[in-house]
């Protein structure tokens, strides 16, 4: 099938999409957006977190066909041009990134959290990011990153 959707503000088209393909597969393998990661492909790890019409979803749980005509924002669409978004800056500076495979999902999920709640407490951060598995950091630096980003965004 043919698919038309907006990714990071640009209309994209994919041809010959098999009906069983997930949105994650189409983004990664057909449209050249490999930033969203494929750690579990069953909605447990959050590595493929994206915005679908402004709502945070796991791209692996969305059938590609369901994304027809809709607006997708991936991790590649978070930076403001060459300048890192404050959430991205904070993850780098605090050491919230190690192997980095969970990072794209966490960047999008944190972006979403801070959009809803500009100054979250530890408890709120833990609750909001409970769907994003990280195997390297033990999450301490991720908490640091979220707080740092929140501070910078609210003082900006």
């Amino acid at each position: 099938m043919r698919l038309r959707l907006s990714v990071n503000g640009e209309m994209r088209e994919a041809d010959g999409v098999w009906e069983g393909e997930s949105l994650l597969y189409v983004l990664r393998e057909r449209l050249g957006f490999p930033g969203s990661k494929n750690a579990c492909e069953q909605g447990e790890c959050g590595s493929c977190s994206i915005y679908l019409d402004g709502v945070l979803v796991c791209a692996c749980l969305v059938l590609a066909g369901q994304a027809e005509g809709r607006e997708i924002i991936t991790v590649e669409g978070i930076a403001e041009g060459e300048r890192l978004h404050p959430v991205q800056e904070a993850f780098v500076e605090t050491g919230g990134v190690q192997c980095g495979f969970c990072t794209p999902g966490l960047i999008v999920a944190t972006h979403d959290l801070l959009g809803r709640n500009p100054n979250p407490t530890d408890r709120e951060i833990r609750e909001a990011l409970a769907g994003n598995l990280c195997r390297c950091t033990g999450y301490e630096k991720i908490l640091d990153a979220v707080h740092l980003a929140a501070n910078r965004l609210s003082s900006a």
Partner: protein
């Protein structure tokens, strides 16, 4: 910066530093920016025009004979470009790091569920998966041998020609038989450790590209490029120079990428089709595609005087190696070496066994044999403290090993070995605040927002543990590392390029290499070239060894380069200048000030130095398990505070405190990341993580059923760092990656015992153990139609099981 403090926590972010740091400075990772932008290329992101997708048919049976493999139906399928079986492996048909005992593709026998039998390349990954279903394999299924004790008996079927016993280390230290009479108190225990998975997030994947001249380039996520290269060359029947490997982005490793997974398969398909082939496992396949942490049964007897001095330790440790050897020989060595803990034990008699079974193959995972032993010996120390009516920390400090004491394998403990100091420090750290349990926010109670308690039945417990482990490879293995360092001018500024084959797996090795080069050569701009096999081996990113070994190699190459530069300066400015140093891209004399900028000295030249770094020699064990087998020992102590819902068996870990000796803090940020991440994996083993195997079959090959800690499970970590320099290592450093994972597990379980009074002799601890319903989880055979992962491979065979 102020923030709502709801749980006890350490100090919050120090001022971030994004300037490039030198050794010892807080330095952010240079690959962090591409990683946060989604631009960092992991092995699963690799893509070239015209590439094919490979897929692997795996045995659904843990033990079976293969009578035939019929691929004819697949060969006719549209979109399928190749289907290969064992007959298509041109060279050595087996692989393996220590013992080449594992078929590249199975013939005659399969020895574990998930063993590769055939591979397919197709235009679309789904076509490849469907092709697998059309391969007809005729199996004669046998009852699997799944019990490690049974595997050692005479009657057990021999799974390998060499028999089922992979290794037995008989360690005789002092004279246990005679010493036993001196013991006033004896405690015994039997312990069990479940099969943990590395659960790295980036799935096994890579891209093989044929070079058109019979050779192949492989872009791969691995821990050791050269050992992969050597095994590939053997099985592909190619000279090593025709098999070139380049490290791709690695999404975590933790030991799980030491063995080959899809490497040979992708290369075989690429060479066969003449086209690039990508193989990428999904999460379910990943559980079958790499080795796991060895499950273990450990029986211990500790004898002590009434004053609490250890007199002897007797132990019998049985590790289940699963179907193939992987790194089991070395894991066995570690379990034996560290069996008595970091204590001064005058007499010990330890038998450590490693056996083949039809369970999933086990191999390297962070902690590597030291983890299993530590769980048992620390439980014993608690038991002994209770029997002696002594404080458990005091008992440990009393018996803590000191430099000059002999370890049970005969090696003298070198300086520094601050075991007592680490214990004193964790014990002295402030305790986390204990708020009134009733009426708390649900999120601060066991079970959280499941709303299962409002504080009723919740008890707090505190537990301590200390552990240790070797750094670098042992028993005579020379795991050297090679570095190539190039100094040149670029745009008028000095640039240092560092080239090694060392695998950055997430631990931050690229940052360490940059810091070393900046420190040694006094320049700011350092570029780490892609790791590949065009430079000499760096050994494996395992055994907490890369900062020591590759850090040492980069340091050595930089020192040689610096000496070359300074020699030039001496020739130009005076032979007797012995106070030269490089800094800020200039050469200084301490007495005469700035002499010359590097730009002037080097001009258009590229100065290059290569250096091979070797650690001190080690030796194998003799027949009594004695030998100077290890390079360095690293220690960490932990204190865990838990709260337990004693009615439902649910646990909230309140805090883990740790003290660790690291020799030298190379990068504070990287060190903290290793400590916190390592503790999270220790917490996982204590409470959550186990590959459940029934009749040789994995029951929970998914992140839905194999649980790793989430941000809700992981408590704040409080850490104190000791920097006691090791006189033998670069900068005095010690390996830091593994110690956090060793004693954190027993500390948490000790805290659970404190809170519940239960024995808890098995990890991971399940709710039913906590409430005293069962000492181990019930055996759950797969039920027909349960939809479990009882079979993999052909879909029609799944329904049979």
């Amino acid at each position: 910066m102020t923030r709502a403090q709801t749980t006890p926590t350490r100090e919050r972010p120090r001022t971030p530093v994004s300037t490039p740091g030198r050794v010892g400075e807080h330095t952010t990772r240079s690959d962090g920016v591409p990683k946060v932008k989604g631009e960092f290329e992991y092995s699963s992101d690799l893509w070239v025009d015209g590439m094919l997708w490979g897929a692997t048919l795996r045995s659904p049976h843990p033990r079976a004979r293969i009578w035939s493999i019929d691929t004819s139906e697949v060969e006719a399928m549209s979109g399928v470009r190749a289907v290969l079986t064992h007959g298509d492996v041109p060279g050595r048909k087996v692989c393996g790091m220590e013992i080449p005992d594992q078929p590249v593709l199975a013939w005659e026998h399969v020895r574990y569920q998930g063993e590769p039998v055939a591979i397919v390349a197709a235009d679309h990954p789904e076509t490849a998966r469907r092709a697998l279903e059309k391969i007809a394999v005729e199996y004669e299924v046998f009852e699997p041998l799944t019990d490690a004790e049974e595997a050692m008996s005479e009657e057990a079927p021999r799974l390998h020609l060499s028999g089922n016993l992979l290794r037995h280390i008989h360690t005789v230290h002092g004279d246990v038989a005679n010493a036993a009479a001196e013991a006033d108190v004896v405690v015994e225990g039997e312990y069990e450790v479940g099969m943990q998975d590395q659960a790295f997030l980036g799935p096994e994947s890579g891209l093989a590209v044929p070079d058109g001249e019979g050779g192949v380039d492989l872009y791969i996520a691995t821990q050791w490029l050269h050992i992969d290269r050597d095994q590939l060359a053997e099985s592909l029947d190619l000279p090593p120079e025709s098999v070139r490997l380049t490290l791709s982005g690695v999404g975590g490793a933790f030991g799980g990428r030491e063995d080959l997974s899809m490497q040979i398969h992708a290369c075989l398909l690429a060479l066969n089709t003449g086209r690039p082939v990508k193989i990428m496992y999904n999460r379910e396949e990943s559980f079958f595609g790499h080795v796991h942490r060895h499950p273990a049964r450990l029986r211990y007897e500790h004898g002590a005087t009434k004053d609490g001095d250890l007199v002897y330790v007797k132990a019998r440790i049985v590790l289940d190696g699963g179907a193939y050897a992987s790194s089991s020989l070395a894991v066995c060595s570690n379990a034996a070496s560290f069996s008595c803990g970091p204590y001064d034990v005058p007499n010990a008699l330890i038998d450590t066994y490693m056996v083949y079974t039809n369970n999933p193959p086990c191999g390297a995972m962070r902690g590597f044999g030291a983890v299993q032993a530590c769980f048992a010996y620390e439980a014993q120390m608690d038991k002994l403290a209770e029997a002696l009516e002594m404080d458990p920390v005091e008992l440990r400090i009393k018996n803590a090993i000191k430099p000059g004491d002999r370890l049970p394998f005969g090696q003298e403990m070198p300086e520094p070995a601050p075991v007592a100091e680490l214990l004193r420090r964790v014990a002295a750290m402030p305790m986390p605040e204990e708020k009134e349990v009733m009426g708390r926010d649900l999120r601060e109670l066991p079970g959280g927002v499941s709303n299962v308690t409002h504080g009723e039945g919740v008890n707090r417990g505190v537990g301590y543990a200390v552990g240790f482990k070797n750094v670098c490879y042992s028993e005579g293995f020379d795991d050297y590392s090679t570095a190539r360092v190039i100094l040149s001018m670029e745009g008028g500024e000095p640039l240092v390029q560092v080239h090694t084959a060392a695998a950055e797996v997430g631990q931050g090795l690229v940052t360490i290499q940059e810091q070393v080069a900046r420190t040694e050569l006094g320049v700011e701009r350092v570029s780490i070239l892609p790791a590949d096999t065009t430079v000499g081996s760096s050994g494996s990113s395992s055994a907490s060894r890369q900062t020591y070994m590759t850090g040492g190699a980069v340091k050595g190459a930089c020192e040689a380069l610096r000496e070359r530069v300074l020699e030039r300066v001496r020739q130009e400015f005076g032979e007797d200048l012995d106070d030269l140093l490089l800094d800020d891209g200039m050469v200084f004399s301490e007495s005469r000030g700035m002499l010359v900028p590097l730009a002037e000295l080097i001009g258009d030249e590229e100065l290059e130095e290569n250096f091979e770094f070797h650690h001190k020699e080690t030796f194998p064990f003799d027949e009594n398990g004695q030998g100077n087998a290890h390079v360095q020992f690293a220690f960490a102590a932990h204190r865990a505070v838990v709260e337990v819902d004693t009615e439902l068996g649910l646990v909230r870990v309140v805090e883990v405190a740790t003290a660790q000796d690291v020799g030298k803090v190379m990068n504070p940020q990287g060190l903290e990341g290793q400590i916190e991440g390592g503790i999270a994996q220790g917490l996982g083993l204590a409470l959550l993580e186990e590959i459940q195997v029934s009749e040789g079959k994995i029951q929970n090959a998914s992140f839905t059923d194999y649980l790793i800690p989430t941000i809700l499970d992981m408590p704040p970590v409080r850490a104190e760092i000791l920097e006691l320099a090791d006189p033998d290592s670069p900068y005095g450093l010690k390996g830091v990656g593994e110690p956090p994972t060793i004693a954190s597990t027993p500390a948490i379980v000790s805290a659970l015992r404190d809170a519940t009074g239960q024995e808890l002799a098995r990890v991971p601890v399940k709710p039913e153990q906590i409430v005293g319903l069962a000492t181990k989880p019930p055996d759950r055979p797969p039920q027909p139609g349960s939809g479990g992962y009882s079979g993999i491979g052909r879909l029609d065979e799944r329904s049979e099981t």
